[in-house]
Symmetry: C2
Subunit: 124 residues, 2 copies
DNA sequence: CTCATTACTTACAAATTTGTTAGTACCATA
DNA sequence: TATGGTACTAACAAATTTGTAAGTAATGAG
């Protein structure tokens, strides 16, 4: 999401894709780490380092990038406390909270789907 | 989704990501075109060429790729009719139909979010 | 015999996303 | 003075996704 080439077919298609409310929504929470981050914030605000520790595989760079995008897109609120060592907290914005029931359902569906698949594999 | 390098951190992280039911679900329908395709199939089966025409910007290659993945993941059923010229129809599998209400909600959320954003921009 | 249609496939290239490594500034503590 | 914690940033490289352009096989119509 850094530098994008304008007028590449690729970016033209991205623009086309987000005309649809559904794919627009998916773009906001898509990417490898975003929903994982959002889930962590469900219980309340967390510091950068807490998030980092709670998602072992993510790198600092990726966490920073994704948090920045989430903030830019209004899904996450960032609060800096003027302390030393620095303290920065992230929490779900209102719109993101509205999404919680939806991602619960998606998660349930994912679980069911996974089970179906496993059955299918067993049967073959 | 073609050749992947095993043991790259990238693919290790993908495996990690799909341990969570939610991100697993998102992976199944993620990618630029999948949900757009699934939406088209909501009303019933469609031929390859119909799909292609109904999504003007997609290339044949992308459509083929995404349909293959959707089929592999059990979201779409593919039926070949032994005719000439060939006729191949795609339709939502049962699991995918279960997802319809969820993507409706996501779509509604997307619309609301988009409106909020526009207001925010106007206000600034 | 030539052309058109359908549903693809292939080889390649461009663009984007993700990961690696090292570095920053601030201050507290040992 | 050296080290450690916090929340990052920057330069670079690797991996993956997406797009381009051309080609395939079967057959029917003209």
């Amino acid at each position: 999401m850094s530098k994008r080439k304008e007028n590449s077919s690729n970016s033209i298609n991205r623009d086309y894709i987000i005309e649809c409310d559904l794919t627009y929504a998916i773009c906001l929470v898509g990417g490898r780490w975003k929903l994982l981050i959002l889930c962590r914030l469900e219980e309340g605000a967390m510091r950068f380092s807490e998030l980092r520790r709670s998602i072992p595989n993510i790198t600092e760079r990726m966490l920073t990038l994704q948090l920045k995008e989430l903030e830019r897109d209004g899904l996450v609120r960032r609060t800096v406390y003027a302390e030393v060592p620095p303290r920065v907290e992230y929490e779900l914005a209102h719109v993101a909270k509205e999404l919680i029931p939806v991602w619960k359902q998606l998660s349930d569906w994912g679980q069911r789907h996974r089970n179906c698949r496993m059955q299918a594999v067993k049967a073959s």
